[in-house]
Symmetry: C2
DNA sequence: CGATATACATCGTATCACGAAGTATAGATT
DNA sequence: AATCTATACTTCGTGATACGATGTATATCG
């Protein structure tokens, strides 16, 4: 899949992945795998960015001797998802414009 | 609308805008305006990129004393649109994942 | 004991959208 | 005649971003 195309989805995907239950980096990657592939470096960049934007909070916890950083969505993060849903309507309009132009020869 | 979100659409939008009939910069911007706003600097960057990728060809013509560069889509450009339609299916799957995660509280 | 999975971090690079600023002409308004 | 607006294309610099490469460290399994 084209990198440019999925760009705008990634942040919201990560937010969606932690929305119902707090999660951590490695798990987020595995959970999202069926929908979008994203590398570790990409994910940690995103998590850092979302944290700076206060769309999530972090809590470090030990799990079987290994450290884990659990991410928790904030109200701002939830709002971001809602905002995305609105933007998605515009996206659909654009996509149908493309399909329309393509159909009439 | 979020810049990142529309990124992947822009190239294909421009291709769609010239598909049924050759067009030129200024007209493309006006034609796309109802769907996506894009500045001149953005458009000309895109046109240059698509030309380099051989997805369109350029022809300069005079129109009432002013120069116009008419853009014509190539077979590769048409294929790019087809490819987009496939990618769009994946995009829809991702968007419904986001909506799903968001709905079950 | 070595391979694999888990878990996180950092650096550098390439791609890209866009604002700003510039050049130039035609037609309308004052 | 002068000014404004629309048309039309160009270039430069910047900030945002995805990602490969590389590194650290531990647990588990064969």
């Amino acid at each position: 899949m084209d990198i440019q195309l999925k760009r705008g989805l990634l942040d919201v995907c990560v937010l969606a992945a932690i929305k119902s239950a707090d999660s951590y980096g490695y798990k987020i990657i595995k959970d999202l795998k069926p929908y979008v592939e994203l590398s570790e470096s990409t994910l940690y960049t995103i998590l850092k960015r979302l944290e700076t934007a206060r769309m999530l909070t972090v809590r470090t916890a030990e799990h079987c001797g290994r450290l884990r950083k659990y991410y928790h969505i904030t109200a701002a993060g939830v709002r971001r998802i809602e905002e995305f849903k609105e933007e998605w309507k515009e996206m659909k309009a654009i996509a149908s414009f493309i399909a329309k132009e393509d159909s009439d020869e």
